[in-house]
Symmetry: C2
Subunit: 483 residues, 2 copies
């Protein structure tokens, strides 16, 4: 029984379609304001030619505008803003490594990662930006409309105004499809969260240089390209409310069994291995029982790490380095600045095992403790690691299902692409993202795993602190397989 | 389209009815294992005769088993367990009081508040306990099956084993209807959370002395009685997944317009004033923009509070006192212990304004900052205060809608009862709980309020940190009006 209101919901007309229908139609649209992806690639190549960034490694202690605190060894900006590099002591009894110390980025401000969307001829388009970042291995990548720290948009940079900011800062006049604070890398960030926003506008707006409109169907095809859709874009795309029983009708002609199972997985009515009450109860149980004591300590006191030759590294040469970079950007505007960056020592592997349970695709998630999480654990992909890190750790620390992923046959690979992590903080940080389908009788032996449907993951993504950034990237990639 | 699984969901048979249907049928059952409520009241009176508790006020500094730290003035148990009384410094720029200090209970352990439920002749019954607590003004109140701190159940007390604990500690063999950590009083507790659990059992179990089976319909009638259903029972009852379109069919013969609007409000299909995306976006926005700096400080340094005459009080004589109590319980077992208690100086008012929007009941919630919350704000009732506290504060601090509640005519009062807060920590802490219906054109002038349906509140109650304990109590009372 539906009661039609006399008072209209804020910012949404009554004739608006449900967000999930709008989104599904855009997923199916392989053509939009840009008719052929070839045109997009040509535009991107033009943008690349017009922009240039020079990134040079410099010693941490001589970074202009930053200082190493004489007492703690922590590294911070002269303004007191942006972020600091501090030390962290983590105790996780029962974990593969029960106690360790490491450097970590402390960035308490909540920034905004936002995509503006707008219907053209009834098809939702996303306003995307070609943006260059110092840590990107290839310079320019495709970014959300807005990607701004609070220091950015309150103008600590003293740079030019942030384009399209006002649509996100005052969204009351627009339809908000998603607005949720999500965590980022819990191994490298201390409790960092960014606001992931999708805001629909109906009025005309000027498309500035460096921006373009793409349908979700087009973005999804681009997710199959290595190092193109940046992390910030992937996490916002994962937060699109892409679920609902009506998807089944829209996607009626799914060609193969896997895609059909994937589409069914978006339906809240599909029978899932576990009810949501069970999934939430499991998360509550792990968060109550798993002890995780984390404390910020002076960077100088972090054991097994040394600040030497202008950078901070682990004794083993593994994990990551903290390096300094001096950056000059030339293009529409010329800017020069310096900053620390995290440089991982190896490429990582991020993989979901997927299987069909009675025709519904389920993803195997793990409850993963990372020291930077706000609430003990978040749900992570089946496998998430840098393989070489385990050279320094006891064999039992090796992730349980890593070998299942690495030995998967070509016929099991549903997705396989390399993507970059946030180029504003990480230097050449790349992960191989995989979706590996296993037989329906495959079961993990380890108790920290559960099979979830996409509808369940999309439901959890409306809230903070449930799905980690690596899982969100892979969920965006899975969305990309639906079209 | 529904796909039936070959693998059964953990702990739930396929022939199980949806939890919401089971719950609704129990709400309608005014008779169960106990056929008449008169029998219940007789049983409760018997229990009261068999139990006795002597609570004497003693100076904080002479509490047996507790010590006042010579350096900080903090009060803690010799074992280091249970809880401490510490100081708190809170800065909430833009709030009615932008900066203050106060004593606060620090109880980092997550306890369990659990209700066991079981079907008898297809009707769900709750296993409730008649439990005496030192802070209860009337001694014995009706409590959940289990109400235990971690110190309790790991036996710091050295008391007898905690009855029914195992059903909650290992719930994998049972259907879990709810399992979520919820906050408690954010003005008196620093980040305290308890696990609220509802676990369905199918096997026979022994009903121990002091326990009885009641239907939800019976419990709901008892919620109208002053000081009977304790806070822990109310918060667990509020977390029952009591929503779903099928409720409309079950409650088809609602007698009056208000009850009909209430029942419609439980349907996820009812058109709500705001979409969930808007509600979640609003919460994200407030949590991002509202600054709330909270820091634990030594109790000795808390300004405007003094430790004198064996207790801690505010200079104004308002707010609350921290007192010491020496307790002797006689009944099935004899126990004696001492502990600090928070004694509020006045009874409080906790009220929802409710209105019908196109036949669907909406409740007016506020985004309320309390210093003990984990995440800046939680959704609170329209009004939640102790009226006399405002004698010490500037007039503009008076809660905006308090007068609307206090001046409501008898014909607007849908619910009105006095309930006690947690008697294990609070001494004679009572609130008048009200639901006041206002005309459908009533709108608050203050921007921190939103009209939500019960389906939306029930949805948010599956997750931590959204709905505060006072709102949960009132939601339990609203459930009670549906039958």
């Amino acid at each position: 029984m539906i009661y039609s209101p006399t008072v209209e919901p804020t910012g949404a007309g009554l004739d608006d379609e449900p967000a999930s229908t709008l989104i599904a139609r855009s997923v199916l649209a392989r053509s939009g304001r840009i008719t052929e992806l070839e045109h997009f690639h040509r535009w991107m190549a033009d943008e690349k030619r017009r922009s240039h960034m020079d990134v040079r490694t410099v010693p941490l202690e001589s970074l202009r505008g930053w200082r190493v605190d004489g007492h703690t060894g922590n590294i911070g900006h002269d303004s007191g803003k942006f972020f600091t590099i501090e030390g962290l002591d983590a105790k996780v009894p029962g974990g593969p490594v029960p106690h360790w110390q490491q450097p970590i980025i402390n960035q308490p401000e909540v920034g905004i990662l936002g995509i503006l969307v707008k219907q053209f001829n009834g098809v939702l388009h996303c306003l995307m930006q070609a943006k260059i970042e110092p840590g990107n291995c290839n310079g320019l990548q495709l970014s959300p409309t807005l990607q701004a720290t609070r220091s950015n948009y309150t103008r600590v940079h003293q740079g030019s105004a942030v384009p399209y900011l006002d649509y996100f800062r005052d969204s009351t006049q627009h339809r908000v499809l998603a607005d949720v604070r999500q965590s980022e890398q819990g191994s490298w960030f201390h409790r960092k969260r960014n606001r992931n926003m999708v805001v629909e506008v109906s009025e005309d707006l000027e498309v500035l240089d460096g921006f373009c409109w793409l349908t979700l169907g087009q973005l999804h095809q681009l997710l199959a390209v290595d190092d193109l859709v940046n992390m910030d874009a992937r996490t916002v795309l994962s937060c699109m409310p892409f679920a609902g029983p009506d998807l089944l009708a829209l996607f009626a002609d799914s060609r193969d069994e896997f895609t059909a199972a994937l589409i069914r997985s978006y339906s809240a009515e599909a029978v899932a291995r576990h009810t949501m009450a069970e999934v939430l109860g499991w998360i509550t149980d792990v968060r109550t029982e798993q002890v995780c004591h984390v404390e910020l300590i002076p960077l100088r006191e972090v054991s097994h790490w040394r600040h030497e030759d202008g950078k901070i590294s682990h004794d083993s040469g593994l994990f990551f380095n903290v390096i300094g970079a001096s950056i000059t950007a030339a293009g529409r505007e010329v800017r020069a600045w310096s900053q620390p960056l995290i440089e991982p020592c190896d490429e990582g592997v991020v993989a979901f095992l997927a299987k069909q349970i009675d025709g519904v695709l389920h993803l195997l998630v793990q409850a993963k403790t990372e020291p930077g999480y706000v609430d003990v654990i978040e749900l992570a992909p089946t496998v998430q690691c840098s393989v070489s890190n385990y050279d320094a750790l006891p064999p039992e620390a090796r992730p349980p299902l890593l070998d299942t992923v690495l030995s998967a046959g070509h016929e099991q690979l549903r997705f396989d692409a390399v993507h970059s992590e946030e180029g504003g903080r990480f230097y050449h940080a790349r992960n191989r993202y995989l979706v590996v389908e296993v037989a329906s009788d495959f079961e993990p032996e380890h108790p920290s795993y559960r099979w979830l449907t996409l509808a369940q993951l999309v439901d959890l993504l409306r809230h903070s602190n449930y799905i980690n950034v690596q899982a969100r990237s892979l969920i965006a990639c899975l969305h990309g397989l639906s079209g």
